[in-house]
Amino acid sequence: DVKVTQSSRYLVKRTGEKVFLECVQDMDHENMFWYRQDPGLGLRLIYFSYDVKMKEKGDIPEGYSVSREKKERFSLILESASTNQTSMYLCASSQNRGTEAFFGQGTRLTVV
């Protein structure tokens, strides 16, 4: 079974902190994605990556950056956390541009 693992299920951080959300997949997928999910807004794409060291902005990249140094790992970085970044963050991976995506269990981040 494909497994996508997010490093934390729940996270509480202070305003201004630098926050790292880690995602690891074990199926050698080329594509990886970071989304945030907020009530009434569905899933919004923050960043995605189609290869090591390659990244593209999604629909809401402001305030975020990403890192993909190894194929299996895709990190989301909040340079200076703010309260409006309190959300559920979901990581996903897929084999190539045509196929289904597999999701991690999500990280619920609260910024206080």
Partner: protein, 114 residues
């Protein structure tokens, strides 16, 4: 934003009834996918329909795609209480090179009661 929208936002039906959810999107797509999310969890892929297909079945699921109207529908037949979840459509758009966005809609919350 290329985010699509599902309709209705919420749906409540009784066990045994059929549930129909609709999805609209904005741009040309390679394929359209439907996902399910149980409360507070990650999403699980249900079914994928390619842009050159019009209808697809998988068990109790039936998906249609109308590219001229940029819309899709998901039908769940003979619903069960265990089908209670949120359902999302997602469209796959190929940009330049090998980059490919997967963009989700806002979701439909389905409640199936006994």
């Amino acid at each position: 934003s290329q985010q699509g929208e599902e309709d209705p936002q919420a749906l409540s039906i009784q066990e045994g009834e059929n549930a129909t959810m609709n999805c609209s999107y904005k741009t040309s797509i390679n394929n359209l996918q439907w996902y399910r999310q149980n409360s507070g969890r990650g999403l699980v892929h249900l079914i994928l329909i390619r842009s050159n297909e019009r209808e697809k079945h998988s068990g109790r699921l039936r998906v249609t795609l109308d590219t001229s109207k940029k819309s899709s529908s998901l039908l769940i037949t003979a619903s069960r209480a265990a089908d209670t979840a949120s359902y999302f459509c997602a469209n796959r758009i190929s940009n330049t090179g090998t980059a490919s966005k997967l963009t989700f809609g806002t979701g439909t919350r389905l409640q199936v009661t006994l």
